[in-house]
């Protein structure tokens, strides 16, 4: 079959699109090594802003808070997201499934100002009704982030479950394994790559969120985006460029390595399935 080719037109669109996506990030990286305080006026190469960043106690403290929240968010979102995805793809219809499906997809597009405000009002109301103080802080941010990110994890895992060959699960069930065993022995290993990408996505979304955290955080829990936002409001600062460079380099490295391994695992799986069919 003749594979369709891209014309010069589509190639140039692709090139321009990638230029648009990557040029601003490259500019951040280049100017993070600029000695000049004015950021975009180049004077000479220097790493002094990295040194300044690592002496900024507030920034480091906020980063630590954010990393902790992101780790626990990602773990909880993967568990809840996997359960929600199983409900969406593997269970026959039950009463209330329509509402469930709506609550799973709505957070994907719901403006964060609405979710953030509503969650804050929930925590405040819970405190008045129960008398127990739901102090705003890391736990409330965690709850907000889990609710947001589990929607994304559910989508990733559902699409993996939907394309998965059901005959494997059915075969195991015919051989006498119960549903729980089938899930842990057959389904879970096959969807493992989706769990990993879901975990990473939840982690980065949580690490990145400003709006939800601003609404539900307390005085002692300033996250990294909140810290960055308040200093970026004052104008550009070379320290933020240094932080941006560290973030971009870390994410790209993890992203490319993760992509490479998943690609390899996928190819191996397809080869093995092909062999199994031939035998």
């Amino acid at each position: 079959m003749n594979h369709p080719r891209n014309s010069a037109w589509t190639w140039s669109f692709l090139g321009l699109g990638f230029f648009f996506l990557y040029a601003p990030m490259l500019s951040l990286i280049v100017y993070s090594f600029n000695e000049n305080r004015l950021v975009t006026v180049w004077s000479r190469f220097s790493t002094k802003w990295y040194a300044a960043l690592f002496q900024d106690e507030q920034m480091l403290g906020a980063a630590w808070v954010s990393l902790k929240i992101a780790f626990f968010t990602a773990c909880a979102a993967v568990v809840l997201g996997t359960m929600a995805a199983m409900v969406m793809t593997r269970l026959r219809a039950f009463r209330g499934k329509t509402l469930f499906a709506a609550m799973v997809t709505a957070p994907l597009v719901m403006p964060e100002v609405i979710t953030g405000l509503s969650l804050l009002l929930l925590f405040v109301s819970l405190s008045t009704w129960t008398g127990f103080d739901f102090a705003r802080g890391m736990t409330t941010i965690w709850v907000a982030h889990v609710t947001l990110t589990m929607a994304f994890v559910t989508v990733i895992i559902s699409s993996r479950l939907a394309e998965l060959d059901r005959s494997l699960e059915e075969a195991a069930m015919d051989l006498g394994a119960n549903r729980i065993k089938v899930f842990f022995v057959i389904t879970l290993p096959i969807i493992a790559p989706a769990l990993v990408s879901g975990w990473l996505l939840a982690f980065t979304l949580s690490l990145d969120d400003l709006v939800l955290a601003s609404f539900v955080s307390g005085p002692s829990s300033t996250t990294l985006p909140m810290q960055v936002f308040s200093s970026a409001r004052m104008g550009v600062s070379p320290k933020i460029n240094a932080l941006a460079t560290i973030l971009i380099v870390t994410v790209s490295t993890v992203g490319v390595i993760g992509w490479y391994f998943m690609q390899r695992a996928e190819r191996r799986r397809q080869r093995e399935m092909l062999l199994a069919v031939k035998q």
Binding site: N2, N6, L14, L91, L121, V143, T204
Partner: protein, 305 residues
């Protein structure tokens, strides 16, 4: 042994119900109920107390009394700033979504026609920016667009302009920021759709004498309708409530409803009015959210088209 576990099982909920109830309970408590509470508080009145609003529901002699005050909504209607903010948010969302579509469609189209081996890598390049901090990518544009920023310096050095052009803190900067931040969300669903197309349809169209642009308009574009809808909803709905981009790149006159809500809550500390602003925004967005949900649910349950 098996008899024992079998006996125990009877007291445990069936796995099916355990599986459903945990995420169901979480979403009810932390997603649905908060909206109901916000709806309730939007009918309250701001007060100097903790929490800073009056009771909507209270008990008189053992009977519940519901006191709904419509003042907040009347207030929103009465002050033109709110109506203007809603209208301008909708306008900005529509224009930015069309811009995203105009840039994202050709990109998704080009990626879907790459050889299978490089397709996934190109897709990774599209998604990768959205994994790095949203805030920092918006911040990058401040350095590019400001009066002594990269673009102005470049144009001044070339001698094309004599004085810096004001780009930062203008609607132009807001559009750039939105398109930049949301482009991956447009490309992804479009690509997922376009890559599934059967190329033999285009060959058939060509055999029947259609020019490439004709077969694009008559075959490819109608077939990608689902992808276009998903991509547009994924961009337009959150953009209506966007706060960070107008705050960082827009001017003081860039009116967007997310920003108004933020100011009501954080600066004016008027929680009931902020709730009313949120509920009115939700009322506008509910139809697009339902459209998006329908498309997404079909996708999630593995049905095609």
């Amino acid at each position: 042994m098996s008899a024992l576990t079998g006996g125990w099982r009877r007291f445990l909920p069936a796995p099916r119900w355990a599986l459903i109830s945990v995420p169901y309970f979480w979403l009810l408590l932390f997603f649905l109920i908060p909206f109901l509470i916000a709806l309730k508080i939007s009918f309250a009145k701001a007060a100097i107390a903790m929490p800073p609003f009056t009771d909507v529901l209270y008990w008189v002699d053992g009977f519940p009394v519901l006191k709904l005050r419509g003042e907040n909504y009347l207030f929103l209607l009465g002050d033109s700033i709110y109506l203007n903010a809603y209208l301008s948010s909708l306008w900005i969302a529509v224009v930015a979504t069309l811009l995203c579509l105009a840039i994202g469609y050709p990109m998704a189209y080009a990626i879907s026609r790459l050889p299978a081996s490089s397709r996934n890598f190109a897709l990774l390049l599209v998604i990768l920016p959205s994994w790095t901090s949203f805030l920092i990518r918006i911040y990058a544009w401040i350095g590019i667009l400001k009066p002594n920023g990269l673009v102005n310096n470049f144009l001044l050095n070339l001698g094309l302009i004599d004085a810096p052009i004001k780009m930062l803190h203008t609607p132009f900067a807001v559009y750039i920021g939105i398109v930049y931040a949301y482009l991956p969300f447009m490309v992804l669903p479009l690509y997922t759709n376009l890559v599934k197309h059967d190329h033999r349809l285009l060959e058939a169209a060509a055999d029947l004498g259609a020019k490439p642009w004709q077969s694009f308009l008559k075959v490819t574009l109608p077939l990608s309708k689902a992808g276009i809808i998903a991509g547009c909803m994924l961009v337009a709905i959150p953009v209506v409530g966007e706060f960070v981009i107008p705050e960082m790149l827009g001017g003081p006159d860039t009116l967007m409803i997310g920003r108004v809500l933020w100011q009501e809550f954080f600066n004016n500390r008027d929680w009931p009015v902020a709730s009313a602003v949120a509920m009115a925004m939700l009322a506008i967005l509910i139809v697009p959210i339902v459209i998006f949900h329908r498309a997404q649910a079909r996708e999630m349950e593995g049905k095609l088209t």
